[in-house]
Amino acid sequence: MLLRVTDLCTTFGDGPAAVDGVSFEIASGETFCLVGESGSGKSVTGLSLLRLLDGTTAHHPRGAAVFRSPRLDAGTVDLMRIPETEMRRIRGSRIAMIFQEPMTALNPVLTIGEQLMEPLMLHLDMDESRARARALDVLEQVHMPEPERRLDEYPHRLSGGQRQRVMIAMAMACEPDLLIADEPTTALDVTIQAQILELMAELQRRRNTALLFITHDLSVVAQIADRIAVMQQGRIVETGTRDEVLYRPRHPYTRALLDALPSRMKRRRGGHHADVSHGGDALLRLEKLRVYFPVYRGVLQRHVDDVRAVDDVSLDVQRGRVLALVGESGSGKTTLGRAILRLVPSTGGRVRYAGEDLLSLSARQMQRYRRELQIVFQDPQSSLNPRLTVATTLTEPMAVHGIGEDHVERVRLAAGVLERVGLEPRMLDRFPHEFSGGQRQRIGIARALVLNPSFIVCDEVTSALDVSVQARVLGLLDELRVEFNLTYLFITHNIDVVRYFADEVAVMYRGRVVEQGPVDQVCNRPEHEYTRTLLAAVPQFEPAGEPG
């Protein structure tokens, strides 16, 4: 065994153990996936193995991590026991780590080459020219376009996917025995994710490197794992081969996780979305909507060009239905959602809501429609004012729009809405930071609901949530849609969610809608080239058996 972890514990301060008696083994060349939801302790486990946690608060009261490497002087070491100087020699050379956020993982003031060469010169005692040659070599291995030129460039010139390639190149440069990858593809688009996963598999085959892959995404796990451990609240609840865990799960938590996958959930309103006639009753109609952001250059700030975030988009959203807007980051889908609500100014075109062109209204006239059109945001952290209680957040819009006679009645109404979204009325007096991500997203939904809207823009509402929470929030949104006859514009990058939730789908690419139509048609018989690429990149995972 390359790495044998037994009874590993990690605590922060006096708090409960974040990692509570975790044991697993990783063999050379194996891909071992650590799966769990946020807060399950999977990332802390990875960081504990390299002892990268803040030493003033984090402690390891017990446990051992025996690491055996033929290229290590001592042969076998316990990572939890060896002195820091020795640990530093192992970090980066024998065990390397890749982090989630490629945007912040590279130092912006050093060139790519400098960052790649430093560990080589440090760990392998290479001189500068040899280190440079090796750096070039690893950049080629991670299929970086124009590697020679990239060496002397700074990180800001690279896209997210390219940065993650550099991170992998950096991790692989010293040819480690074990690579710990902590959600390495979570921040990337699906097409980039597919490329990166393929790259990691290729490098692993060639070098026989073991991979500890930490993720929350079961469909990625299904693609790459040899063996899987499922973590819940600091403990491993189930370990086994990929097929055992994914297709014959024994632990109820694993089963619950699998059932929460959108691809596994029962299709919403099975089949009857062909009933509604098309084009008849469009609640919202976009006509050649354009949102350009001007680019100014030079001393005189001359207007030289536009960034065409939304470019001639025409769409219909039928009353009472769900139109999904899919696309990768930067495709303009979020800007489109905000332009409809006039949160960003539009450059041209029309937004017709129930026949009225919203863009031509004055601010005063628009006020009436602020009640009708609402938005729920992606990030539950930033979408609630941290200084206001839930009650204030919910009742202030009501007061502005004259809902409820007085404050007492408004609080009563707010309590009702809060109950409707699955929270308790006594939570009204709390502040946002006292809630979990899923609960905050429910408050965000409640804030949209207090004004009794007809149309809600859901901007990546479930992207920041764990799968089980995502399933419940999607369920809630569907119930509310039926109960209040709501119409959704559902912005997302997750094709599985689209399949489960939407009636129609529009695919956005570089500010334009390249394809739109009923979900079945677009997802199963895509016509546009880009849609096909997008669908092919989505990790396919269909757990066996009927949904429980």
Binding site: L373, S382, R387, M427, Q439
Partner: protein
């Protein structure tokens, strides 16, 4: 819905607002406690100055009649400060700042108005009369304040200018023969006043100007930013010198000038905060709900952006105190009224004589006060630093 959402809430004793959190974290630091303690000492000296150092006896019996010249000689400023302090105590005691604050403010304003028109201490003051009276036994009994000298009591009965500290004058006397300790105590008022008033003016200007810049981007912001840069290039000290030269040595004018020249920094801070906040989802949500601009600005953005301003303000108070000290040291400070900087000025006499007690005590007081504000600012900055408060994952 098959689920119940009751768990998951972080467990601690009741909700802790951001304000409570910042206060707790600030108080947890030793530096902050020392700083607050020193400022409290200075503030108490400022409020109770006439009771701590005064030539008028607190109680005296002359010809069988009891009287209190000290209270008779209280000015409207003394009364107002005492009233403000009392109002603050009552509000604190009731522990309901938010509800009692308007009431307390109204009460204090009323007392200030009444005392401004109603309190008329005798214009001519003869400090020596009590000492000579006691000596000639026309005054039978007298109870004095702990320091039995007023700051402007020049001891004409026994001229003692520039004497070193002794048993009578614990910190010596200045060149006019006034007691240094008494002047030190009464100078707390100017030190505190200049800090709070000047910084208060600067804060209000900075918040309004910076808020407008940050919220309404575009041409307005570009123009306002240029104007701000022009304003920033005005050298504060030389402007102060000029104003003093033209309009005389007026402490209130100085406060206003210091306030008027130090707001651009606060405006910049708030503009940066607002530019960041404007893109936050909760501000967008407030706009999507059709909330009025005033509510978005003052309810949703300002409370989230003001924390760094408060930190800057605590440093600003320190620099305002220094500015006044510099002016007084140059001999352009207030006339007659004691100020720490002015006392430093007297340390080196016209004949080249040096009085170390006139340099060390006021110098130490200035140093400690500026240091205390810096300590508080430092602790405040650490307390609101998001990197220190991030949740463990």
């Amino acid at each position: 819905m098959s689920e119940t959402v009751t768990g998951g809430v972080t467990q601690h004793d009741g909700p802790e607002s951001f304000r409570a959190q910042v206060v707790r974290r600030t108080w947890a630091r030793l530096g902050a406690r020392i700083g607050i303690a020193w400022i409290a000492v200075v503030a108490l000296c400022a409020v109770f100055a006439p009771f701590l150092a005064n030539s008028h006896p607190l109680l005296m019996r002359r010809g069988g009649v009891w009287s209190s010249p000290l209270i008779e000689h209280l000015t409207w400023i003394d009364v107002s400060l005492l009233a403000a302090f009392g109002g603050l105590l009552v509000a604190w005691w009731l522990r309901r700042f938010r509800r009692t604050l308007p009431l307390a403010l109204a009460g204090v304003t009323l007392v200030v108005l009444i005392s401004y028109f109603g309190v008329n201490p005798p214009a001519a003051v003869i400090y020596e009369q009590y000492r000579t009276g006691l000596a000639s036994e026309t005054i039978e009994t007298a109870v004095f304040a702990p320091v039995p000298f007023s700051p402007t009591d020049r001891s004409r009965d026994r001229p003692r200018s520039l004497t070193a500290p002794d048993a009578v004058h614990l910190m010596g006397t200045d060149e006019d023969g006034a007691d240094v300790l008494s002047r030190m105590i009464h100078a707390c008022r100017i030190a505190l006043g200049i800090g709070f008033v000047a910084t208060g003016i600067a804060l209000i200007l900075g918040i309004v100007y910076g808020g407008i810049m940050g919220f309404f981007a575009g041409w307005a912001e570009i123009l306002m930013m240029r104007f701000l840069e022009i304003f920033e290039s005005v050298p504060q000290l030389f402007l102060l010198l000029m104003v003093v030269a033209f309009f005389g040595r007026n402490i209130y004018l100085m406060m206003v000038v210091i306030g008027l020249t130090s707001w651009p920094g606060y405006a910049r801070y708030l503009r940066a905060e607002f530019l960041k906040l404007r893109r936050q989802d909760f501000v967008q949500a407030a706009q999507a709900c059709g909330l009025p601009v005033t509510s978005i600005l003052f309810r949703h953005m300002l409370p989230n952006g003001i924390a760094p301003l408060l930190v800057a303000a605590s440093f600003g108070i320190a620099s305002a105190i220094l500015a006044e000290a510099v002016l007084s040291f140059l001999g352009l400070g207030v006339v007659d009224e004691p100020s720490w900087g002015g006392m430093l000025n007297q340390a080196v006499g016209p004949g080249g004589t040096f009085a170390p007690w006139l340099a060390s005590y006021p110098g130490l007081a200035i140093f400690l006060t500026v240091f205390a504000y810096n300590l508080i600012g430092e602790a405040l900055r650490d307390a609101i630093d998001p990197h220190l408060s991030r949740e463990r994952s």
